[in-house]
C-alpha cells in the first residue's frame, strides 16, 4: 500500500513554499545541491537527498523583458538565476524596472505571491 501521507518532492517543495520557505535538495554523500526537486541526483543517481533551506543568494544568469500590453498587466521581467548553492532556476526579479535587471546582478530570494500562489521571487541586493 502506498502511504498517501508521503508526498513526492514536488509536493513537498510546494508545501514548504506555502509555509514561506524556499527549500532545495542536497545530496548527503556528495554535497551537491539539486533544483528542481527530484527523487535522485540527476545524472549520477544518488538517492540521499535531504531538504535544506536555500541561502537565497543568487546572481542573474540571463534576463529578458516580456513586453506586454498595459491592459494585460504591462511589461515584466523573466530571469534565470544562478543560486549560490549551484542550481539555476527561472524566476522574476522584482522591486526594480524590468529593463533595469542586468546579467551579473546580485539578487536575493523571497517567497512572494504571484497570481495567488506562493513563488520564489528575487530582488536586487
Amino acid at each position: 500500500m502506498t502511504d498517501t501521507k508521503i508526498l513526492g518532492p514536488e509536493a513537498q517543495f510546494r508545501t514548504f513554499l506555502a509555509e514561506g520557505k524556499f527549500m532545495i535538495q542536497r545530496s548527503k554523500s556528495t554535497g551537491r545541491h539539486v533544483f528542481y526537486p527530484r527523487l535522485a541526483v540527476p545524472g549520477s543517481g544518488e538517492t540521499d537527498l535531504e531538504w535544506t533551506e536555500a541561502s537565497g543568494d543568487g546572481v542573474v544568469y540571463s534576463t529578458t523583458v516580456v513586453r506586454n500590453r498595459p491592459e494585460k498587466g504591462g511589461d515584466f521581467n523573466i530571469a534565470l538565476i544562478d543560486l549560490a548553492e549551484g542550481p539555476r532556476l527561472m524566476s522574476r526579479v522584482v522591486d526594480i524596472e524590468p529593463t533595469a535587471v542586468a546579467i551579473g546582478m546580485k539578487v536575493r530570494a523571497r517567497v512572494g505571491d504571484l497570481d495567488g500562489a506562493p513563488q520564489v521571487l528575487f530582488a536586487p541586493v
Binding site: Y61, S62, T64, R67, M90, S91, R92, A117
Partner: protein
C-alpha cells in the same frame, strides 16, 4: 562498431502545400496534400507506403492519425515528437527502418493551419517550475539565450538583424516564400520589441503549411523519376527540456549532433555547399553556425555581418528564406530538408546555389532543446 547508415537511404520525393496562408483547410488536409504531392513526384501511390513518420503540434498520436487519414496500414511507424527537429530524427529513423527491412517506402509528414486557426499552437504541457512566471515561450527562452550570448561575446542586435536581412534577401529570390520585400538592419532594430533583445523581426513567421518527404532504400532510389538525394549522415542530441535546465545558454547540443553527423557522412565543414539552419529566431542561426563548427564560439555575430550568409556571400545559409522569411508553421524542421533536396536537385530557380552537391539541414526543437543534424548529398557524393 556501429554499421554506418551513410547513403543507406534516399529522398525520392518532396511536397509542400498551403505554405503561407491556407484558410479553411485543416492541419491534416495540408499534411495529406503534401504527402500526395511527394508521392506523385516519387512515382508512387499511397498503397506503396508502409512506413509512416509524422509529428504535428495538434495530434497527440500523429503516426496513427496520418496513417488512418491516408489509408495506410504501416509495418513501421513513429510519431516521436522532439519539437521542430522531429523530422530530422524521423529521417534518421526512416533510414534505420529501411535499412533493416522493416519498411520499404517511408513518408515523413507534417501539417499545420496555425496562422488561419488563430496563431501559434502547441500541445506542450506547461513546464513545471517555469510556467508560474509566465514566460512567453518559445520566444522568452530564445531571448534569454540571445541576451547571454550578447553579454558573453559582445554580439549585438545589429548582428542578430543581419540574420533576418540575409533570410529576407534569399526569400526575395524564392517566389514561394511568404515574406517578400526590402528589409534593412534598421527595420529589424526598430520593430516592436517582443522579448528583449528580440524584436518582431527577430522572430520567425507564423504561417500555415504542410510538408512531406518520401524515402526509400538506396538500392531502390533510382527506380523513381527524380534524382535521388541521399542521407549521408544524421545524428541527434538533447541536453534539456526547459530553458532553466540548459547547461550553457550559449552552447546548444548541436555541438554533439554536428560532429557525429559529419563523422557518419565522412565530410567536413568546408565540403558543405549550403546550410539550412532552423531559424525560429535570429539567435539560432548564429548559435548553430558556431556549434556546427563553421566559426568559433562567440564569433557568430561578426561571422554573419556584411552579408556573408546572404545571396552572393561566402556561405549560403537558409536559401529558401528560412523560418524568418519563407515559412514557419510551428514546427519547421522538414522544410530545411526539403530545401536541401531542392537545391541538390538543382531545382531552386533564382536562388540556386551553383553546383550544390552537399547540404546540411539542421533541426532544432523545444527551447534550443533538441538538436538533430542531417547531411544530404546527390549521387556524386556517394
Amino acid at each position: 562498431m556501429t554499421k554506418s547508415l551513410r547513403g543507406a537511404a534516399a529522398c525520392v520525393g518532396v511536397g509542400m502545400a498551403g505554405c503561407g496562408e491556407a484558410p479553411g483547410r485543416s492541419a491534416m488536409e495540408l499534411l495529406a496534400e503534401s504527402v500526395h504531392i511527394a508521392l506523385a513526384e516519387a512515382g508512387l501511390r499511397v498503397a506503396d507506403v508502409d512506413g509512416v513518420f509524422a509529428a504535428t503540434a495538434v495530434h497527440s498520436m500523429p503516426a496513427m492519425s496520418v496513417a488512418e487519414y491516408l489509408g495506410i496500414k504501416p509495418t513501421f511507424s513513429s510519431g516521436s515528437n522532439i519539437g521542430g527537429s522531429s523530422f530530422q530524427a524521423h529521417a534518421l529513423n526512416a533510414a534505420l527502418a529501411l535499412e533493416a527491412g522493416l519498411c520499404k517506402v517511408a513518408i515523413i509528414a507534417y501539417g499545420s493551419n496555425q496562422r488561419s486557426a488563430g496563431g501559434f499552437t502547441s500541445i506542450s504541457e506547461p513546464m513545471p517550475y517555469e510556467a508560474a512566471f509566465k514566460p512567453r515561450n518559445p520566444v522568452t527562452a530564445y531571448a534569454l539565450a540571445a541576451a547571454r550570448h550578447m553579454h558573453d561575446y559582445g554580439t549585438t542586435r545589429e548582428h542578430l538583424a543581419e540574420v533576418a536581412v540575409a533570410a529576407r534577401q534569399w526569400a526575395n529570390l524564392n517566389p514561394d516564400a511568404f515574406a517578400h520585400g526590402p528589409l534593412s538592419v534598421e527595420d529589424v532594430l526598430k520593430a516592436r520589441m517582443i522579448n528583449d533583445p528580440l524584436s518582431k523581426l527577430d522572430c520567425c513567421l507564423v504561417t500555415d503549411g504542410g510538408a512531406a518527404m518520401v524515402m526509400v532504400r538506396a538500392d531502390r532510389a533510382k527506380d523513381h523519376p527524380k534524382a535521388p538525394v541521399y542521407l549521408l549522415g544524421a545524428a541527434m542530441a538533447h541536453h534539456h527540456r526547459m530553458i532553466s535546465a540548459m547547461p550553457d545558454l550559449t552552447v546548444s547540443a548541436a555541438t554533439d549532433s554536428g560532429p557525429r553527423a559529419f563523422e557518419m557522412a565522412g565530410v567536413g565543414q568546408k565540403d558543405i555547399d549550403l546550410l539550412m539552419l532552423y531559424d525560429a529566431f535570429t539567435i539560432n542561426t548564429i548559435l548553430f553556425l558556431e556549434d556546427l563548427g563553421f566559426c568559433a564560439k562567440g564569433e557568430g555575430g561578426p561571422f554573419v555581418a556584411g552579408g556573408r550568409i546572404a545571396p552572393g556571400g561566402d556561405l549560403p545559409v537558409n536559401t529558401s528564406g528560412g523560418g524568418l522569411s519563407c515559412v514557419h508553421p510551428g514546427m519547421y524542421g522538414l522544410y530545411t530538408m526539403i530545401e536541401a533536396v531542392t537545391q541538390l536537385r538543382g531545382q531552386a530557380g533564382d536562388r540556386q546555389v551553383k553546383d550544390a552537391q552537399l547540404a546540411l539541414a539542421h533541426g532544432n526543437g523545444g527551447v534550443l532543446s533538441s538538436q538533430v543534424t542531417s547531411i544530404w548529398g546527390n549521387e556524386a557524393t556517394l
